[in-house]
Amino acid sequence: MSRRLSDIPTGSVERDAAAIQELLQYSDDLQIQDFGRDCEQVKLMFFDTLTDSQSIHEQVLQPILQKPGAAIADCLPAASVSTVQTLSEATSYLLKGYVIVLLTGQQDIVCIAAKSSFTRSVDEPVNEKVVRGAHDGFIENLNVNVHLVRKMIENRQLTVTYYTIGRETQTRVALLYMNNLANKQVVQEMEKRIQAIHADSILGTNFIEEYVEDTPYSPFPQLLSTERPDRVTANLMEGRVALLASGAPTALIFPVTFFAFYQSPDDYNSRWFAGTFFRLIRLISFFIAISFPAIYIATVAFRFEILPSDLIIAIKQSIDKVPYPPLVEAFIMEITIELIREAGIRLPSPLGQTIGVIGGIVIGQAVVQASLVSNIMVIVVAITAIAAYVVPSNEMGTAVRLLRFGFMISAATLGLLGIVLSFTLLLIHLCALESFGTPYFAPLSTGKWRNLKDTIVRFPMWKMSSRPVDATPQRNTQETISRGWQPDDSRE
């Protein structure tokens, strides 16, 4: 009870200031400035680490001192001013970068925004580059991120809902969706799951992703994370929902299907022939990345007669000197590649090239010359590694890389049958998986072939008259007769 009583400003400047200081643990970056105005004592309090001294000068001090007679709140630009009645509210404004003004005899505390913002520029995200199309990317500032999306969709249906989660970090989270498109149930479901999060700290969107995922034990990511505003925009316009969090340059998009991870804005930025071709290449890469080493093991250890005669001579020549069974050989190389990858990411960029050279020459050549690994295996692993990096989404790439090891083990125990069994299990799992009520493997698992238009291949824009149904949007038509100027017979 005493706490609540002291929460209300007393009107004594000194005592209130002391109370606020106490609430903020006498932090050294809390600045207090006194000055007199019309014989009243005025105290300004602010964090010098959160505020901008120039804007304090221009937006707070100057207006107050230039109009001596007026009430403080009247002197200031209205948009940035709010008045609070409790000390704890005042502290939370302080933490947001406001300046609070304490006046003798006044129980209202005036808070004036004077935030300093150190944001990096909205550069293109390094790990999601495109050839053509927008080159801006999300940054760590939530407001800027929402701004980027709002700029692309100037529509009153674009709804932004803020939540604050993380008991200690007080992370702001924004849910973005098109009110007339997005499925209400998906939005409500997400709201429910966000509010269920009872964690002390939420650092970035990945924390949220783990808390809200449908099947956390699945190797496949069920929310699509992206750093590209154009990707978010395109998904919002298909009736999906995006989640942004302060301090994270990533947006989470849901509900998504497996094939969304194999799409890139480049598909739409290039012509549709090229877009379709890239998509097919990526889907082929999925199979290569997941099963190529396994196929090698199964062939060399079980069914080498499926190889053509000329090839078998070359393969036998290179594996004859290798001292291990194929599985061990494959593991050695796979783990080496993962080591190179991991080292390459962590190393400062001038050294990254050195790793590339060491990896390429030492591992690629010396290992073969020392007959530790056959050169066919090196080729297999290299192609597999490249195929795994073709996936536009990093999370999916990781999933694929991990699954590969399972495939390799099953191929080493059961041969080609093992590969078939693994693929069967994978297919069963993919068909059973759901992302916020949407079948994950749609349209292949649902059999709604109409949706193939924008999954495995990319049809021309004017052929895709309706939105993909996997996100269950409220309105299906996204395009009507855009090529109406064409005579009827040449239009389909």
Binding site: F304, E305, P325
Partner: protein, 385 residues
């Protein structure tokens, strides 16, 4: 049962079963060519050309080229052989001689010595065909003399005996000298009544391994041979493609330069027709009309005077006559060998079953009369492709 226990059980089943059905490629000695010969006392001589020693030879050319004596004599032998009562027995004998387990799943060619071929082809190929791991695409050929000798001969120049033979045979199939003959195509047809086979015939020409024609078979064994030219002509009426065959034909008189008397042409499309006429049930009354219409392109004609319609017609007529005459000789040879290459027997079986019952085809085949007619039509004289 607890799910964790269940999972552990499944995993144990998976991993503890081990690698019982593994066939690791690097521990296998692949057979690339199989040779079968008749040895003394009716025994079988079985020869394998192996891949592992071949690889060792090709992968270290520097060591084999070193002017030392020990290296060559100490080299692992490429072609090994064993003599035994059964094929299986010889295979086991050879397995004992080799460093790794022998494996015939990538066998590329099967060679059969002429002596053995004259006795029986069927039992020789039987084991290869019924082996579930066996390679059915392996080429089959009969060897003049001993198969083992030919294999050793090839091995001396190219350790990869199998691919050498495959390429040799395929190039001649391309030239339409011999029909395509693989284990898959040969073996089932050996049992066929009313139709016989032609198999490639290999031998040494001036010390070079070469296709020396084809072998006529009848009733599961070899009954005669054809020269390459005859072999090509025999294919003219068969189901095998003749497109791309090159024929040299003598048409001129006695020019000083022999080349001037010849024409050489490339066969394009061939239209063929076989008509089996049965008038009465006696074998003499069976007449087989064979008709082949060839569209050809002249490749070499030294007179270089193919410019008038009349010249064309004259050449067409000459060539048709000559080829018909040659075909008659070939057909005679086929009849001598009782090799019913065109499946006349099967036609009679199907359309004249009453007659078939009365015939003794083994003997009667040589008594029926063939009436071949070859028509040549020169279509092009221009570019040689």
């Amino acid at each position: 049962m607890k799910p964790s226990l269940f999972a552990a059980g499944i995993l144990a089943l998976l991993f503890l079963s081990g690698c019982w059905d593994q066939r690791i490629l690097k521990d296998r000695n692949l057979i690339i060519c199989i040779g079968r010969d008749l040895a003394e006392e009716g025994k079988i001589q079985n020869s394998f050309a192996l891949l592992t020693p071949a690889i060792k030879q090709t992968s270290s050319p520097s060591s084999s080229q070193q002017p030392g004596s020990g290296a060559v004599s100490g080299k692992q032998k490429n072609v090994i052989s064993a003599v035994g009562d059964t094929i299986n027995q010889t295979a086991m004998m050879m397995d004992r001689k080799t460093s790794e387990t022998v494996d015939d799943s990538k066998n590329q060619a099967v060679l059969i010595g002429e002596k053995l071929a004259r006795l029986d082809l069927y039992s020789t190929l039987d084991l290869l065909y019924r082996d579930p791991m066996g390679e059915l695409k392996a080429k089959v050929a009969v060897v003049k003399g001993e198969a083992k000798q030919l294999m050793e001969h090839i091995a001396a120049r190219d350790p990869l005996v199998g691919s050498y033979l495959v390429e040799l045979l395929e190039s001649q199939v391309e030239r339409r000298i011999i029909p395509e003959a693989t284990l898959q195509s040969i073996y089932p047809s050996l049992l066929e009544h009313g139709e016989d086979l032609i198999i490639p015939y290999l031998g040494l020409v001036d010390g070079e391994p070469a296709v020396i024609g084809s072998v006529l078979t009848h009733d599961k064994k070899m009954t005669g041979t054809l020269t390459p030219d005859e072999s090509l002509l025999s294919m003219m009426f068969s189901k095998f493609d003749l497109k791309g065959a090159r024929i040299n034909q003598r048409i001129g008189g006695d020019e000083k330069l022999r080349t001037l008397g010849y024409i050489s042409f490339l066969v394009g499309n061939v239209k063929r027709k076989m008509d089996v006429k049965v008038e009465s049930s006696s074998s003499q009354s069976i007449i087989v009309d064979l008709h082949a219409k060839l569209k050809v392109t002249v490749v070499e004609y030294p007179h270089n005077q193919l410019n008038t319609e009349a010249k064309f017609n004259e050449l067409n007529r000459k060539l048709s006559n000559q080829l018909t005459k040659d075909a008659e000789k070939v057909l005679h040879k086929l009849q001598e060998a009782r090799c019913d290459f065109y499946g006349v027997g099967r036609q009679i079986m199907a359309f004249h079953p009453e007659t078939w019952k009365k015939l003794d085809w083994d003997k009667d085949f040589s008594r029926i009369s063939f009436r071949p007619r070859v028509e040549v039509e020169i279509k092009g004289t221009g570019l040689i492709h």
